[in-house]
């Protein structure tokens, strides 16, 4: 076992339209079977294969070989403990997610049918429903790398999804959690998260909306 991280290099042939994930599979299946990486759906929706590709966070299944050829450097996402190769311990990431109560809070009696909502009310938080919890945003954040307590962009995005939902009644509780010193005001608006999001969520914008909701209790 090597206690220190190291680089390894592989030369393979691939079609320009292959995805980087295909190339990593080729390495794992034909070059070095010990290579460890997470992937599941391979179609950009399960959020398993976020990695640091040529210095930027992205999903390996959404990056084409022609975008990165002839030479590509792949690293595990930053700020989380590396377990092996490209696999990091996601537990601290999910703890931040759980901390913002990512579920509908509504004390009213359940209606006979679904809880109705106007298209305008639904549109209010549409952008943040797209999150797949891949951690590309959180692990692109310089504050998250340096501050061990910062809850991170993904948790705030998912808080936004419920805070601005007209059917939800837990906004006060979530805003209280996020006004903590390790909460939303750690954000220094570097926009790395917005650039990194493979779903195109305007992450920084959502964080800013939550900041203003904390300050003015307006949501």
């Amino acid at each position: 076992m090597k206690p220190e991280p190291w680089w390894d290099e592989f030369t393979i042939e691939a079609e320009p339209t292959d995805r980087l994930l295909d190339a990593l599979h080729y390495v794992k299946w034909y070059k070095d079977g010990t290579l460890a990486l997470r992937r599941s759906c391979a179609h950009g929706i399960c959020g398993s294969d976020a990695m640091l590709i040529n210095g930027r966070n992205a999903l390996a299944c959404k990056v084409l070989v022609k975008e990165v050829a002839p030479k590509v450097t792949v690293e595990p996402i930053r700020g989380l403990p590396v377990l092996k190769d490209l696999i990091v311990d996601m537990e601290p990431f999910f703890e931040g997610y759980k901390a913002i109560l990512p579920f509908l809070i509504n004390a009213d009696d359940p209606p006979d049918r679904e809880r109705l909502q106007s298209p305008e009310d639904r549109a209010r938080f549409d952008d943040t429903t797209k999150c797949i919890l891949c951690a590309a945003c959180t692990t692109s954040c310089p504050i998250f790398w340096g501050d061990e307590q910062y809850i991170g962009p993904a948790a705030i995005v998912n808080a936004h999804r419920f805070i601005f939902d007209s059917r939800d009644q837990g906004a006060e509780e979530r805003l209280e959690i996020l006004s903590d010193q390790s909460g939303v005001f750690r954000c220094r608006t570097t926009f790395n998260c917005t650039e990194a999001c493979p779903r195109g969520i305007k992450v920084t914008k959502a964080i800013q909306e939550v900041k203003r909701a904390v300050m003015f209790r307006r949501f």
């Binding site: 991280p5 601290p92 931040g96 926009f191 914008k205």
Partner: protein, 136 residues
């Protein structure tokens, strides 16, 4: 906030590669660097003004150091740091309080950098002229 397990931050020097963030990341780094530079100057500034308590001679003797051409260049750097930090700070406040501004962050960064460079051009000429006239 609920107590979370300690996340041991990874040391970036273990890997050495730089995250290739875009304009936002670089403006953030520049904001920090200029901020630290200004606060370091303020420490020196507090000391040099406090010297007046030891009489005009002590004060004049130390403040004369500011006439050194190298310190003159440092002063030019200080002006640049203050102007950049102020303009970028205004941009950050706009991002904080005007919801739509987040969509235009990159353009805002180019805008503030442009104003900064346009402002620094005459300032640099004036200050360099002064240094050259005094010493050469």
């Amino acid at each position: 906030m609920a107590q979370r397990t300690q996340r041991r931050a990874r040391r970036t020097q273990d890997f050495g590669s730089l995250y290739k963030g875009r304009e936002g990341q670089w403006s953030w780094i520049a904001h920090r660097v200029t901020g630290v530079a200004i606060i370091l100057f303020l420490f020196a500034h507090v000391v040099d003004t406090a010297l007046v308590g030891w009489g005009p001679d002590a004060y004049n003797k130390v403040v004369r150091v500011y006439q050194n051409p190298i310190v003159g260049l440092l002063e030019l750097g200080l002006v640049a740091a203050v102007i950049y930090h102020a303009l970028n700070g205004l941009r950050i406040m706009v991002i904080d309080f005007w919801p739509k501004a987040s969509d235009w962050n990159r353009q805002l960064i180019y805008g503030t950098t442009g104003v900064f460079l346009a402002g620094m051009l005459p300032i640099t000429i004036i200050m360099l002229k002064h240094i050259l006239k005094e010493h050469f």
